[in-house]
């Protein structure tokens, strides 16, 4: 295999990996401040794409439709937190996980009723042929994927380390009770986390839609991949989510190159299970195991 082909595989892996990373960031954000896994994260991805298409069809210009799609997704995320999760926020994680599973069922099915069962297309953000680097081609939309991933991870890292709000979020992840006693508005933190997670999912959804088209049922699959990426990297840390996402993407494309395209998902998932069993805190996670 020549180096251009190898580079092409790497690019494919990094492009898919960045998409997984964006979804993983949403998981990690919600987990960071609430300690729960949001099974509806994949549906935020779906909603971002679907709503952007919806706004384009309403006649809005593409940039505005894209932003409106992301904002509308954020609104749904906030509403979901406020209506379904807030009433039970004092319950254990299992209850909240179940609410998010229920939420994902409703969001997916409702969007089929609203937008129909067929796939929908969104135009590319910037027109033009792909760019060739050292014999490997990169489509323009991929730069949008990478750019937005970098912005998201830098923004989140800054939020966590430099702002009072970010520090409150981290405090929340350690103990809600203690944070509340310290005077932190935990309810607001949780709501904002969900809003931001929806924004991240929505961004991933709109930036991918021009590459792949979108439909009501794309959420579950990307949710599994994003979740896997988040666990692979280590939950609760933005950098880890990106490392997990890119690793997963690269493993998949290298499986195609060297093993088999049919079993690429199996190979990636088996790797995930192995990491889970051997190093449950993930590649970059802190090695402090929750005490049993």
């Amino acid at each position: 295999m020549d180096s251009a082909a190898l580079l092409q595989f790497a690019i494919a892996g990094l492009k898919n990996g960045a998409i997984y990373a964006l979804v993983a960031l949403g998981f990690t954000l919600v987990f960071g401040s609430t300690g729960i896994i949001n099974f509806a994260q994949g549906e935020f991805f779906m909603l971002g794409g679907m709503l952007a298409v919806f706004f384009v069809r309403l006649g809005l210009p593409l940039p505005i439709a894209v932003i409106a799609g992301v904002l509308a997704t954020a609104g749904i995320g906030l509403a979901f937190e406020r209506l379904a999760l807030r009433p039970r926020r004092d319950s254990g994680p299992l209850v909240l996980i179940i609410i998010t599973i229920g939420g994902s069922m409703v969001m997916k099915s409702l969007s089929r009723h609203v937008f129909g069962g067929s796939e929908l297309s969104l135009p590319a953000f910037s027109e033009g042929p792909s760019i060739v680097v050292a014999g490997a081609a990169i489509e323009r939309q991929a730069f949008w994927v990478w750019g937005l991933t970098i912005i998201a991870v830098v923004g989140l890292t800054w939020l966590y380390s430099k702002t009072k709000f970010g520090r409150s979020m981290r405090a929340c992840s350690l103990s809600h009770e203690a944070s509340r006693l310290m005077g932190i508005d935990t309810a607001r933190i949780v709501m904002v986390s969900f809003g931001l997670a929806a924004v991240l999912g929505g961004i991933a959804g709109v930036v991918v839609a021009p590459l792949t088209q979108t439909s009501f049922d794309v959420g579950a699959r990307i949710g599994v991949k994003g979740f896997a990426a988040a666990i692979l990297g280590g939950l609760g840390n933005p950098i880890a989510a990106v490392v997990g996402g890119l690793t997963l993407g690269l493993v998949e494309s290298m499986s195609i190159a060297f093993i088999s395209s049919t079993y690429k998902d199996v190979i990636a998932l088996v790797l995930l299970l192995l990491v889970l069993f051997v190093r449950p805190e993930g590649i970059l996670g802190r090695a402090t195991r929750e005490k049993v």
Partner: protein
Amino acid sequence: MRWTRRRLGITLLGVMGIAIAAVPFLTDDRYLLKVLTFVGVNAIVVAGLALLFGYAGQISLGHAAFFGLGAYMSAYLTTTHQTPWLLAVLAGTGIAAAGGLLLALPSLRLKGHYLAMATLGFNEIMSVLFVELRGITGGNNGLSGIPFPSIGSFVIDTPAGIYLLVWGVAALAFLGAANLVRTRPGRAMRALHGSELGAVASGVDTTRLKVQVFALSAALAGLAGALYAHAVGFISPTQFSLEFSILLVAMVVVGGTGSLVGPFFAAVVLTLLQYVHALIPGLGNDVASVIQDWEVDISGMVMILTVIFLPGGFAALVRRKRIGVAVDGETV
């Protein structure tokens, strides 16, 4: 007082048992019997999941895969190797139990969401294998011509016979589970659900217990899958997807934690919701198609609303009314 309540409960269960057993003698509607057979199959899986979730505090998003393992194993053995039915079903149950054990041993050392991930990953891996191992599973075209249940020359080939077989197994599964929760391991499981730390402190080997419960629930799913394969005669990969796993979890959640009767009724209602004509006889076709169209939304909404308003599921509602005091509403 306590005694009478217990007796009331047993009487009610007895009446229910007789009613279920009487169905095939009251109707010969093959559709109704078929759908109620599906209900019985799901109830067997739910008996295991109720132990796992409601008593041991774990969720599994992979039970459709165990169900599929049992179904394919038994179907493969009977169709291509002419294995006797009973042996094949036992093999299906066994492979699911073994799979459950293998998955549980490493992952149950971990906390809740990691198990959810591990089971979910397992379900996805099995979904691919069900399609790709064509020599055994028949790939996307599925496995057809799966023989009816039989012991020796005695073949159960009527809908009523299969109905009684499945419900007989379901009854045994629930009786077994009910016995289990009353014994020492059952009390240990409840302790586990209440507080893992407390359970450890009182000398319960939590990991071992969790692994055992998980393997047991996987075995029940495998058994149900094997029965299902012979009841329908045709299986294909789409039937063992993540969506089915989620539906099974929904049944247990809506039914209630720390209860077997609650999840049982939830299994009945949520399964029948997919076959509205069986749920509400004489329903107009227009209404039925609307309900079918909205089935997922309804299941999802019911799941959310149950968890919000009835934290212990419908079982808790009944319990609360009868005793008159709020029982541990916040068990989870």
